[in-house]
Amino acid sequence: MSDELNINKKRNNQIKTKSSATSGRGETDIDYVRPAELPEQDLYHGHSFITKWIFCQDAKVIGVQYTLTAVFTGVVGLILSWMMRMQLGFPELFPFLTAETYYQMVTMHGMIMVVYLLTALFLGGFGNYLIPLMVGARDMVFPYVNMISFWMFFVAVVVLMASFFVPGGPTGSGWTLYPPQAILEGTPGSGYGILLMLISLSLFVIGFTMGGLNYVITILQARTRGMSLMRMPLTIWGIFTATVLALLAFPALLVSSIMMTLDKVLETSFFMPTIIKAGEALSYDGGSPILFQHLFWFFGHPEVYIVALPAFGIVSDLISVHSRKNIFGYRMMVWAIVGIGALSFFVWAHHMYVSGMSPWFGFFFATTTLIIAVPTALKVYNWILTLWRGNIRINTVMLFCLGFIVTFVNGGITGIFLGNVAVDVPLSDTYFVIAHFHMVMGIAPLMVIFGAIYHWFPLVTGRLLDEKLGKWHFWITFLGAYSIYFPMHYLGFIGVPRRYFEMYDSPYMTSAVGMNEFISVAAFIVGAAQFIFFYNLVKSLRLGKPAGKNPWKANSLEWLTPDVPPTHGNWGEKLPVVHRWAYDYGVPGAKEDYITQTTPPSEVKDAEVEKT
């Protein structure tokens, strides 16, 4: 260990002497950062209530708007899950829960949670708030388009929610919306419900594209002086890669939505095969339902990583800050994010092993799926190695991060089960699948979202969240989530099928009834615990402890604004100048245990900082 340090020191000295020898400008040279390439950004400053808070062009306000809207849909999704659990745990207790309403709830719960909560919250919420601040920009590069993006999302949510109130109710075809059943009579909501769902998704894609272009270009073209790509916090890397994925994957969703809308409205037969109903042929003829599945999952699998990659990035930053250690293997982490993102386009058909496609095709997709485990496992090791011998602060943020790692490993391992064709075939469409994806892309990203909110709430509002309530929130959520999803693995192994409204007198009834009741009770408690969190948010907004500047002693730029919370334009008079990466924590030889990104090298000459 000490040998290595000495070698590093030697190398640093060599570089130093070399640079001073060649340039001959002496000691001041080490603080040199290339001059600005771009003129100051032209910003529109709102001056009325409407332009400041409603049709606002400030990315921070847009981020908060996205977050609030997404959380609202999330609460709707949560209530739907409660009702589902009521039915599953205590069948026939509530007469208003019919099979039709159950399917509608399943569908809406899935779509809301995946698209309207997680995607919108990570990219629209955290992306908007953090990207300009973390890369040192005054705002997104196209603030006007950014504003339209949010309002497009808002309209998409309104259309989605409207489907609860139309004749026939929302669609009940499952969140995958597989044709032909999604648009055929007999499926709940096959009239207006599915139509509104498809329109809402199309609007979401259009709105997201506007925002996504903003995120990508801000990161690529609007970084501040000294901020190279390899000095960006991993949060930005995660959001960046996820946005690129979204820009390339959402087109498939848009196309399949358009085609299914035409199948529904104009009775075209893109996805609809010849169908005989009650002895009579419907007007459909010769379409391909499997084509829809391919299009849907070409969107659907990258979608998993659109949710997961920002979570990976954010959790890396949180772990690093709260264990006062640099992130282990930063470059490896970046390449793992990029690699996972690229691979995610070549695995989609592992969702379709039982669709009747050729087994050889399945073999190919099983291979690519298992290859993804490599960079993913690498990331998990790096998180653990970051924690190892760190100066860990067990606060709420850290608890949620630790909860994330455990949950993610758990969900990841069951993913290896399901990625293999031979294991997947008996397990597909059972509760094992439910347990797997809720662990890996439900609970795990949610843990990160909670951790991130506890972490960045002081930046947004200037006040800390209550730690005591936070810890209650964490423990109930964490233990409760395990009480919900651990038993589901077992239910899956004994063969309980997913999406069944009731087990009736099947053999599953006797063996699974107690467990289902237990899961339901746990689900009610976990759901209720979220209201502790909402109470905490509201209470701390007014009564929370004032956070002051940089309460976590973090390095990254968002904490270094002249005003806390940051105002429009973020940086006051002068843009920050970046001299290092965001992870110089606990550097040997430094006066404090953190060196901010804007600290020039001449101020920390004796510290053994990483060369970045």
């Binding site: 501040t224 390339l248 848009l254 037969s269 010769g286």
Partner: protein, 235 residues
């Protein structure tokens, strides 16, 4: 970053790796709007690819025979059916409008307001002609031949569905482009790009680079048409 600074940057692979490794901007000297348009077009490429791949998949798997495009898209000239006549003219007009767009961009960068304006206008008229001819083609197919999205007299019903959907989606792109071309022609003639007048909605200063960004979109729409032409009319 001024043009003279750009000339000093290293070229080739070394230049690329240095740009990616550098601070501030990854694409040196590239305007934000231009970078955005490139990435949007990449995304839009995926949209059209999905459409065309879906079309190829269904065309390969339908049981009923696929209509023969040379007969379906033929025009009767002096009693003789000429295959693909209208499509050839449409394609010619659209590709030509790409040429006039390129000239508009050139005159824009030369700050030659008049010529730039005329060529933007000419491009818009080219695009409008294309949309008009497409409307003619659609109405002929619908009213004369009885082709519908859900059925047609020539064979597999997906023919009409894919034809109307894909050419319709492309036609929408062209129409949006035409609208913007007319708006931009007005802006050029009025001198917005010379005075840097602020946009009504975005409040951002106008710049001739906007002509190039619109040009990128226009060339893309043309390129997509080449693929649609190949897959629909020649296959």
């Amino acid at each position: 970053m001024s043009d003279t600074d750009l000339d000093k940057l290293p070229g080739g692979f070394k230049g690329m790796s240095e740009d990616i490794g550098s601070d501030q901007t990854t694409f040196k000297g590239v305007n934000w709007g231009k970078a955005m348009m490139w990435i949007f077009l990449l995304s839009d490429t995926f949209v059209f690819s999905c459409f065309l791949i879906a079309y190829m998949k269904v065309r390969a798997s339908v049981v009923e025979p696929w209509p023969y495009p040379s007969e379906v898209f033929a025009l009767e000239m002096m009693g003789v059916p000429v295959p693909l006549l209208l499509i050839a003219i449409m394609t010619f007009v659209l590709i030509t409008s790409s040429g006039t767009m390129a000239l508009a961009v050139k005159y824009g960068y030369e700050k030659n307001r008049k010529m730039c304006g005329w060529f933007v206008l000419l491009t818009a008229i080219g695009g409008l002609t294309f949309v008009g001819m497409q409307a003619f083609e659609w109405s002929k197919l619908i009213f004369h031949d009885g082709v519908r999205p859900w059925a047609n007299p020539f064979g597999a019903e997906q023919f009409g569905a894919f034809f109307f959907m894909i050419t319709g989606f492309h036609g929408t792109h062209v129409s949006i482009g035409v609208i913007f071309l007319f708006i931009f022609a007005r802006k050029v003639f009025r001198g917005d790009f010379d005075t840097g007048k602020r946009g009504y909605f975005t409040t951002m200063k106008s710049d001739y680079v906007a002509i190039e960004i619109l040009g990128l979109y226009w060339h893309f729409v043309d390129l997509v048409w080449v693929f649609i032409f190949a897959f629909f009319y020649l296959w």
